[in-house]
């Protein structure tokens, strides 16, 4: 049997097809050759860190149909929440955002009085801003993730006391008042119906206003982060990231550590959680990571667009003056120094810290360190970190030689009667710390690590910002014999094992 022969038309079409196929083949080969010859050039540069995709969250369930109310008070909203989220109550009752106490941990550098693990936190510590929560509960706890904390007898085991709305409501109208209760006029039904995953607005309501006002406390967190430009923070400004994108929360446990209330180093988050490996294209920059924390270069300034409080002197409070600027002096609080675009102070930090605890002795002639990072040039775990240092002057007991708790808010408080002795007596009663009746004022310092207001590489520090004769680093204070750019780093000098 003879094979069927193709028609001339088919053969002609086949020939044309061959020519076209050949042309395509030549084109593809040329493109492939170009790509092969210039692998680094034909493809756009993709930074290593971009391999980690930005976090995304599922859209939250619309609760407006489920939370119809009416709600008599905040606790009624909480009960409604717990009806569907029964575990959330237990989780929150154990959360530091509710307890204002950390888990038991050793506080480094303490004597026999604190030789066992301590539970420390905002609830029982003294600082050099508003001094202490104790005796001032109603005022301080308006940022508490709970309702009704008015005194030491507060029930921390009652789930109804948890305030779900402060972290989850999205109307932007929810406000808290004394003892953390919803402010008068708040529409609880609207707030409850709006709940969703926490946004910058939720976190910032309290954290951007720590210390009694916007930008007071942290230096790297203030109201500019609500709607930041990229020049304020590259994550929140350029990428529109939320706080919880880095503070990745599970079971209402929010990781992150503030040196002022937690010195254990157990709950830190790190840039390398996302930017792993060698994040820089420059090998020399990557070498820096052995001694330098990321924020050291990427947080070149604090308080970028809003001044932060650098000094708070309580000793001048109580006087009638002509000063009208509340950022310089108020009768209630004393003298302040605010500053903007401030270069940080740098210190070694291994993630743990030293903390002044109630009753610790002070030397009135020296500056009392309330919180300070631990670490040294010889500690391989430590990195150079940027800090805000808040300097203060606050009351201490001249006989017992320790810092005192003062009641500032409420009847008999300093802001009412301007009587330090009375305020300190009431503070002592609330805190259980005896007061001799003799008080003075002592200088104090607190270190606040800076990790927000992060700048992109294009705006991070450059070599000459730290090194050379105009560098900002105080190398001798850091333990170096001189500028490591010229003398070598701590590994090269044998101070730590590489």
């Amino acid at each position: 049997m003879k094979a069927r022969q193709p028609s001339p038309r088919r053969v002609w079409l086949g020939a044309v097809g061959q020519v076209v196929a050949l042309a395509i083949l030549v084109t593809v080969a040329a493109l492939a050759l170009t790509s092969f010859l210039s692998p680094g050039l034909a493809r756009p540069h993709v930074p290593k860190h971009a391999a980690v995709t930005l976090p995304s969250k599922p859209s939250h369930t619309d609760h407006s149909g489920m939370m119809k109310g009416p709600f008599a008070d905040g606790s009624a909203v909480t009960r409604a929440c717990l009806g569907c989220h029964p575990d959330a109550g237990k989780q929150m009752l154990a959360s530091e955002h509710f307890t204002w106490l950390g888990k038991p941990a050793m506080v480094p550098g303490k004597g026999p009085a604190h030789a066992s693990p301590q539970r420390i936190g905002k609830r029982n510590l003294i600082n050099n801003f508003c001094l202490s929560v104790e005796s001032n509960w109603p005022r301080c706890t308006n940022c508490h993730a709970g309702y009704g904390w008015r005194d030491a007898s507060y029930d921390f085991a009652k789930a109804d006391n948890v305030d779900c709305l402060i972290c989850h409501e999205q109307t932007g109208t929810y406000r808290k008042d004394l003892a953390g209760l919803p402010a008068a006029g708040v529409d609880l039904v609207a707030a409850a119906g709006s709940v969703a995953a926490p946004t910058r607005e939720n976190c910032g309501t309290c954290h951007f206003a720590g210390g009694g006002g916007d930008a007071v406390k942290h230096g790297d967190m203030d109201g500019t982060l609500f709607f930041p430009g990229a020049h304020i923070d590259v994550h929140m400004g350029r990428e529109n990231m939320a706080c919880t994108d880095c503070h990745r929360t599970r079971n209402h446990e929010i990781p992150g550590q503030s040196l002022s209330v937690d010195v254990s180093g157990r709950s830190r988050i790190a840039c390398t959680d996302c930017h792993a490996g060698s994040p820089h294209r420059s090998e020399r920059l990557n070498q820096h990571l052995a001694a330098v924390a990321c924020p050291t270069c990427h947080v070149p300034l604090m308080a970028i667009d809003a001044p932060t409080k650098m000094v708070w002197d309580w000793s001048t409070a109580g006087q009638d003056t002509a000063v009208k600027d509340p950022h310089r002096y108020t009768k209630e609080k004393g003298s302040f120094v605010y500053a903007e675009k401030v270069p940080p102070v740098y210190a070694w930090y291994d993630g743990t810290g030293e903390r002044y605890l109630k009753g610790d002795p002070v030397d009135p002639e020296a500056v009392v360190s309330i919180s300070k990072p631990r670490g040294s040039i010889r500690d391989a775990r430590a990195r150079i970190w940027p800090f805000k240092i808040h300097r203060g002057k606050q009351p201490y007991d001249q006989e017992h030689k320790y810092l005192l708790v003062a009641q500032t808010y409420g009847p008999g408080g300093f802001w009412t009667d301007y009587d330090w002795d009375k305020a300190l007596r009431q503070g002592a009663q609330a805190s259980g710390l005896p007061y001799s009746g003799q008080y003075g004022f002592v200088a104090t310092e607190m270190y606040w690590p800076l990790a927000h207001m992060v700048q992109s590489g294009a705006h991070a520090l450059q070599c000459g910002d730290c090194h050379g004769d105009r560098g900002r680093m105080n190398w001798s204070a850091l333990g170096y014999e001189g500028d490591p750019a010229f003398r070598g780093g701590r590994a090269k000098l044998g101070m730590v094992k590489p």
Binding site: Q5, V11, A15, Q18, R281, A339, R391, D469, G471
Partner: protein
């Protein structure tokens, strides 16, 4: 800015009383050491230099004589100044033949080695024809000496009891970039946004666009178009604290001197023998590392380029044909001098100067350097980035050799008082408004040249003639980091390539002038359709894939493509013919069979 806020915080913190006069006294103890500003020296180490006796020309301490300081006499004794002068590359510039004796300055050690030297004060007295006061004026910022009327007065209390001064009082040290920059280029080291000084005497900035600063262009105050994207430093070496002296060092400096790796026995990788530091300090070679004797530090002296250019196809070919600067100086972001026209002075009695890289709206757009094949330090020709500057001037050949017509003669010839001569105005005033504007100050027609020439002859210039000179400046500074270097293949490997890209050398050419290069350049000067002088680079010694046209290569390629098409077509045709034939055969076979 950072310094400003540091001072604000520290100042207010340390001295709150002064700031808050109306407020309750707030007293805080001194801050912890960490809060104190760091020392302003990298090492914090004191200078090893002994106290210095500042001497006058008679070798008498100026504190006692009250005379003018002589740096040569002050430093001589500990340093062999006589030998240094004989081995000083800068001396030739200072003592150029024909220099007015009143402006002839000696070796001024203070200028480069005293951190507190004041070059502006020095220039001022030299310009006033008081070269003998130059060394004294250089020290005016030290507060050792001040000017009172016509006299220089030494502040005796600033001296030690024995008449010497501490080295710190002068800031004695190895020359810093600021010292070099005082004459050569703008240096900007602090945190304040950089503002261009536009000092034509800083020739490397004026002619080559180099600014020694590690500051990012985007952080500067210069209005560079699109500067938000220019997050590169003005110079990567300045950013990384590499100073001028790191490359331009004293060749006999024991720490910097090269081993004889390239000059000694082949087996010797490093010659550990060095002169003693004392010998170096006695006779430091001030010729500085230079190209002529191979001591100049080049890119490859410090960088192993092969280790960081893995992305580059055929790196050996690229490095063989291109200087590192070709890719790493992709743009110049400052206005640089394009032409200086002395043939007609402006109303300020200055030459007409045109800068390149500036847009009409005033923004600096910068420019791409022209790539020229030039002889490199290793004796090979490579393409490197260049800029060119054109100068038009009048010369007088009456003495047999061309002598530039001095500026004062030009002023005398072209001006009456502070105004251009009427005959000149009549010849050049195109719009007829009776005044000469910038655009009209060009001798672009024969009639205009004749008028100017006749005025010069009247001013005593016997044989005035216009000339044009074009000087190419190879760019080695203003280096950008790798991420801003030229990285795209098609910058060069395409028809419209960086190679052969014409480069404007001047906005005009005076009538009858044929500009020439001052030194050999692989390129030609032509006039474009707009009357501009344009440098057209010549083809280098290399074939640039994708750009260079070669008849044989192109022909062979065309032949191959055409051959493929013809082959495919022929193959198809033959199959078609074969098929037809088979069909005919089949038809015939079927017709034959019943």
């Amino acid at each position: 800015m950072i310094c400003r806020y540091t001072l604000l915080v520290l100042g207010v913190t340390l001295a709150p009383d002064a700031a808050w006069a109306e407020e309750p006294a707030s007293e805080l103890p001194p801050p912890s050491p960490e809060l104190v500003a760091p020392p302003q020296q990298p090492s914090g180490a004191p200078s090893l230099h002994p106290a210095v006796y500042i001497m006058d020309a008679e070798v008498t301490p100026v504190r006692d004589s009250g005379g003018l300081a002589s740096a040569e006499r002050s430093c001589d004794g500990c340093h062999d100044v006589g030998w240094i002068k004989e081995h000083d590359g800068h001396a030739a510039a200072r003592m150029a033949p024909g220099t007015d004796p009143a402006r002839l300055v000696g070796t001024n050690c203070f200028l480069c080695h005293a951190g507190l030297a004041d070059n502006q004060a020095r220039r001022q007295v030299i310009d006033q024809g008081k070269a003998d006061e130059a060394d004294t004026a250089t020290l005016v910022r030290t507060e050792l000496v001040s000017r009172e009327g016509e006299r220089w007065v030494w502040k005796k209390s600033a001296f030690k009891e024995d008449g010497s001064v501490a080295p710190e009082a002068l800031g004695l040290a190895r020359p810093t970039p600021r010292a070099c920059g005082a004459c050569h280029a703008q240096v900007h080291l602090d945190q304040s946004p950089l503002v261009l000084a536009r000092d034509p005497r800083q020739s490397m900035t004026d002619l080559e666009g180099f600014v020694y600063s590690g500051q990012r262009i985007s952080d500067s105050a210069v209005n560079v178009a699109g500067k938000e994207q220019l997050t590169r430093p003005w110079d990567v070496h300045a950013e990384r604290l590499v100073s001028c002296a790191s490359c331009h060092f004293a060749p006999n400096h024991p720490a910097y001197a090269f081993s004889n790796r390239n000059r000694g026995p082949e087996h010797l990788a490093f010659d550990a023998r060095r002169i003693a530091i004392t010998e170096f300090l006695w006779r430091p070679d001030h010729r500085l590392a230079n190209r002529a004797d191979g001591t100049l530090r080049r890119c490859e002296s410090c960088h192993d380029a092969l280790k960081v250019h893995g992305f580059l196809p055929r790196p050996d070919r690229h490095f063989g044909a291109l200087a590192c600067e070709t890719c790493h100086v992709p743009m110049v972001h400052t206005p640089t001098r394009q032409e200086t026209d002395y043939t007609m002075l402006t109303t300020e009695q200055k030459p007409r100067v045109v800068y390149r890289g500036v847009r009409d709206d005033g923004f600096v757009q910068g420019f791409r350097p022209v790539l020229l094949s030039r002889l490199q330090a290793d004796g090979k020709h490579r393409f490197s980035p260049n800029t060119v500057a054109t100068t038009y001037r009048w010369i007088d050949r009456s003495s047999g050799k061309p002598e530039p017509v001095p500026a004062d003669v030009l002023v005398r010839a072209f001006f009456v008082g502070t105004s251009h001569r009427p005959e000149l105005v009549r010849a050049l005033d195109r719009n007829g408004n009776g005044a000469l504007e910038a655009a009209e100050l060009v001798l672009d027609a024969e009639a205009k040249v004749q008028v100017a020439r006749s005025l010069l002859v009247a001013a005593g210039v016997r044989a005035p003639e216009m000339v044009g000179e074009v000087t190419a400046y190879e760019l080695h500074h203003g280096v950008s980091p790798g991420r801003f270097a030229t990285r795209t293949c098609d910058s060069c490997h395409r028809g419209k390539s960086r190679f052969g890209e014409p480069f404007v050398a001047a906005s005009m050419v005076p009538f009858g002038v044929t500009p020439v290069f001052t030194s050999p350049v692989a390129g030609a000067l032509v006039r474009d359709g707009d009357g501009r002088l344009v440098l057209e680079p010549g083809p280098g010694p290399v074939h640039v894939f994708g750009h260079t046209r070669n008849l044989w290569v192109d022909g062979l390629g065309l032949l191959m493509v055409a051959g493929a098409f013809v082959g495919a077509f022929t193959h198809g045709y033959l199959r078609w013919r074969g098929a037809r034939r088979r069909r005919q055969t089949q038809r015939l076979d079927s017709e034959e069979k019943p």
